[in-house]
Structures are given as C-alpha cells and as structure tokens.
Amino acid sequence: MFILKLIIRNAFRHKLRSFLTVLGVAIAILAFGLLRTLVGLWYLGVEQSSATRLVTRNAISLVFSLPISYKDRIRQIPGVKQISYGNWFGGIYIDEKNFFPNFAVEPRSYLELYPEFVLSPGERDAFIHDRRGAVAGRKLAAKYRWKVGDMITLKGTIFPGEWEFVLRGIYRGAQKSTDETQFFFNWEYLNETMKRTVPRRADQAGFYMIGVTKPELAAEVSQAVDSTFRNSLAETLTETEKAFQLSFVSMTEAIMIAIKIVSYVVIVIIMVVAANTMAMTARERIAEYATLKALGFGAGHIAGIVFGESIVIAMIGGGVGVLLTFPAAHWIETELSQFFPVFSVSPLTVYLDLLAALVIGVVASIFPTWRGATIRIADGLRRIG
C-alpha cells in the first residue's frame, strides 16, 4: 500500500514533465488506434463476404464482360442454388468528388442473394417493377438528402450518357458493419439503353454472382463453371466472393503495409520519448534510491518503484488515448463518409491500444530500473543534485 502511494506520488512529482509524457502517450495511442481501424476498413469488404457466394468474371480481366446467355448454362451446374448478375456502372454523381459504388443488377435475384441489404417489402416491389428504379444505402441517402421518389442523375463513364433514376428504396444494413453507401439500379434499364445506342455492348453482364447450396461445394462449383466455358471466346474466372474482394485488396497491399509499419513507428517514437522521461527521473533521484537502500529496502523494492512509476504514466496516457479514439472515430465517420463508410473501433483495437501502452511503460523503464536497482549506496549518496 505504501509502495503504491509512493509510486503515484512520484509519478506526479514533476507535474509538467509527467503531463507532457502522458499527453505524448495519449496522442500515440490515439494515432495507433485510428491507423489500425483504417487498416481494418481495407479488409472490411473481405470480411463481409459470405462463404456461399461465388463471383464469376471474364478471365482476361474486369474490363471484359460475359454474354448474358451464360446465365442459364451456369444455373444447370449441380450445386448452384441461385444466380444473379450485374455490371459495375462507375457513374459520377454531379462531380467526381462524390464517389460511391454504383452497380446495375438484376433486382429480384440480387436482393435474394444479398439478404444483408434490408428493404421493406413495398420498397422491394417498387424497385423490381420500375425499369428506372434504384436503391441507395441509408448513409448515402442521408449524405445527399435523397428521399424515396427523388430523381437522381448519374453521368456514365463506362456507359456514356446521362442516366436518370428514380429512387425506389433506401436499404438498411442487416449488421452494423454492412456497407450502407452503395447504389444499385435495374440492369434491364442499362441493357435496353445499350441495345439502342451501342448494340455490340448489349446483352453482356460484367459479373455473375452464384449462390451455392453448401459452402463445401464452392471449390467444386467454381471449377465446373470455369471448365464449362474453357476455350470459348469469353473464358471465365470463378472464385469465392472473399477471394474476389481480396484480389482488390491485395493490389493496394503496398499502401496497407506502409500504414501498418507507420502505426508501429508511432509507438516506437513515443517509447523513445517516455524512456527519455524515465531516464531523467531516475537520474534525478539516484541519491534518493541510495537513501532508500541505506534504510534497508532491497533492490527489488527500488526496481518496483521505478518500474511502477513508468507503468502508471504510460497507462494513464493509454487510457486517455483510448477515450479520445471514440469521438475521433465518430468525427471521421461523419465528416469523411465518402472515404470511410464505416469507421467503428473494434474491441480488439482497444485491447491492443492498452497493450501498446503497457509495452511503452515496460520498455521505457528497463534501463532506469536496472540502474536504480544496481546502484551502490556509497556512489549514490556521493552524487549531489
């Protein structure tokens, strides 16, 4: 009890220095937490994907499409429960800055395959029956203040022209982490327009989504699909939705790795700062430690005092950092929603934050602890100041 009191009192003996160190640790932990959350977001799409869904696309690359006639041939493959198809539309809303993912999809089967997009039955029917109907996520609609029934115009980049849609529904995510910033519309509208304007581009689907009956069948079904179309004009590449999402992530992996490294660098910087503080503290109190030793306290006691002080400072800083993370994350979610549709701090991140704070405290005190514990009484008392 006495030791604990001594540690706490010691930690704030030098108010300004302790305050600065706590602040430094808090900033570092905040940065660490936010960077970790950012990295997690990158993989969000991968984690969202279901094990029973496959994506089929043209084997050459994403910019090539597949004939719509493949739909019926895929459906005959054993193990296929449902099939839907669509195109990445890549339209621009007013200005390039307002980026959000937009697709043309076959509405009925798509909504069946993706139960995480929740629409009321009325909205669902209106979307299916309206050629120009479209559905937007809750966050997206909130951002541009769209209401059901609004007209929305997108400028096509891949499919030229000005496209007008009627917003028929606003979907909610089934889970908290579901992406609520997507926009999808009726594939028929795209196809009929293409038939009129560029006939050679009509009746083409950018990708097929396949629902399999059992997750174990995924590998078998993908092989069966790909072998069906081998040596045809449009060969396919079928993979699980997870692998498909991961292929995008892996292309930008270099940036992710850089951010990961940086999130550890910030911890190291603060470790150096904290170690500096502790080294000074120990240096100032050499005479005190010697006095304590002269009074009969053992090396373990002295070590405990120095070590404890470092941990107290680091943990207070860590605690403040964690508390600051939540309002910061909320701010990012509201202010930068076009980049980060979901910016929620996971419990794991909080644990890692605290662990990082603990590591800072431990590492910072290694050297001073050792010095305090091994000081020879006579040397310590000889020093003045």
Partner: protein
Amino acid sequence: MGIPYYYSFRNLWTRRLTTILTASGMALVVFVFAATLMLAEGLRKTLVDTGSYDNVVVIRKSATSEVQSGVERQQASVIESQPEVAMGAAGRLLLAKELVVLINLPKRETGKPANVIIRGIGPASMWLRPQVRLVEGRMPRQGSAEVIAGASIAKRFKGGGLGETLRFGMRDWTVVGVFDAGSTGFSSEIWGDVDQLMQAFRRPVYSSVLFKLRDPGEFGRFKQRIENDPRLTVEAKRETRYYLDQSEAMSKFLTILGIALTIIFSLGAIIGAMITMFAAVANRIVEIGTLRALGFGQGSILVAFIIESLFLGLLGGLVGLFFASFMQLVTISTMNWQSFAELAFSFTLTFEIAWKSLLFSLVMGFVGGVLPAFQAARMNIVDALRST
C-alpha cells in the same frame, strides 16, 4: 556579447543518452515526413513524366481513362484528318490509334494476380514517346503474336521476361523485347500490334488516339473543333494533363495521409524535445545563475538554449534524412484507383524534399525549446544561485 556556440553543443554532449533518445525520436519523425514526400514525389514523377506537352490524347467523352474509353474507327479517321496533326519523315502522320485493355497477370514472387495494362500500338507509337527505349530483344513484327514488355513488368510478372510467353485471348504471345521507359508509367505496360490485339480481344474499337501537335499552341483550337463536331463523341487532353488527372486521387490520398501522420508524429517529437529541454534547464539552474552573475544578459541565455534545441532538431533531421535516402532503393507497386491498373513507382528524393525535411526538424526543435528557454532566461539570479 553572446554565449559561445560550443557551450550549447557541449551540453548536448555531456548528457549523451538523453540527447540520443530525443534526437532519434525526431529522426523517426523526419524519416516518416521525408518518406511520405518522397513517395508522393515518386508517384507524381512517374505519372507526370509519362506524358509530353505537345502530344494530345483523344478519348471518349466522360471516360476517365483510356481503359474505359472507346473510339470508333470512323471517329479515329476523322481525328486523323485534322490539320493540327504533325507530319513526320516521308509524309507519315505522327499519330497512333491505340487499344488499351487490362489483363490479369500473376506476380513472380507471390503468384497473386494484378491488373496490367496491355497497349496495342501503331507504327508511330514508339516515336511519339521518346522516353521509351528498347533495351533487350527486338520490336514485335506487325501481324504476329509478339509483344514487348516494360522493364518493370519483365521483372515482376510471370511470363513477362524476354523469350517467355503470355496467354490471353486464346493465343500465346511471345515476349520478343523488353523496353525501358525510365520512371514513367509505361514501364508497367505490355505493348503489341494493335490490329492483332483487337482481333484477340474481339474489340472492334480503339481506346484512344494519340498524336503530336504540328504546333503546340494550336491545342485550344483543335480541342474546340473536335469537341463540337457532331460526328464525334470525344474529348481531347494534352498528354501531360491526362496523366496528371490519372494520378489525382492517389496523390491526394498519399498527401492527406502524409500530412496527418506528420502532424501527429511531430506532436510526439516536440513533446520529447520539450521534456529534454525542460530537464536541461532544471539541471543547470546554478549554471544559469552563474552565467547571469558574470554579466550575460537574458537574451544570451535565451539564445543559448534555443540553439541547443535547434542543434537537437538538426541532429535528428540529418539522421532521419540519412535513413530516408536509402528508401530510394525501394519500389512500391500498387493499383492506381483511376485506371485499376498496376503501377510501380519508387521513392524519389529531391533537393526540395531534403531542405524541407531539415527545416521541419529545425522547426520541431525550436517549438520544443522555446518555452524552456524562456523559463531559463526569466530566472531570478539570486534564487538561481541559491538553489543546489
């Protein structure tokens, strides 16, 4: 009369451990600062140097990149007949109708596929891009299934090296040459005969038309004419502008990330410097009192401590910059969001980045040292001498 510089310097030397710790904290910050700037600069250089100012790229209206664009054959012929197109030797037009598509290729190291740009080129394509040189092998023969690969593709992708084959569009293509395009984006492309590739991909339209202007000043007139021509649905951009637009999103992201990180990190380093300097002042109260008693003024004390802190910053800056300069050996490859294609670029250190980093480290040192220096200067002589 000021206090000699080496007083400040010697003080740092006497408390070596603390100096090293503080300076290394700052060095890390400067390292991150410099590395981010170098990365953004490398990207800028790669994409901006890719184009030349007197070349014009014509793509379909509202397409954001060549990959999304399609220019019909008749439209390409209309552009070809414009008077602004420069003539080369033997009356040949310096114009290339090209096809640009993405193909999926596995990387050599990981086996993970990435999107690579494959470009169908015409006879004038090489000529229009003086920065592209063939370094190994030969040019592909027209009308054959032969391609040449950019240096960075040859190195990083399976089947991209000289003599290897790539399979796409139901045919095998032999790599008969490797070209080097310096640090430009072309190094991450594969080139082959445009007609052969259009056949293989069953793409009856070109992606873009590239030509050299007869006179660089005529661009405005040309742009206005073809964008208002009812037969055409295209837009024209100078090649430099086109590549700048391609890199916009990426460089914005890198810059924002870099600034955010630097701000957060520098706060940490400044706090570190402050702690160090406050301790330096606290340890030397008697010394400061003595100096004042000897007749050095408040200003001299202030300057001495600020110089000490600037030294600390400069030391960190130099060390950080030293390590950052090794980053030039690193090449990063990532997907460019605008074209969805793989792009390799390296960290580029410029003189400007070097002095910015050093200035930044001095600023950190100054901000960290200014409060403690004032504290030292404002001390009462008698009290300072009395404290032991």
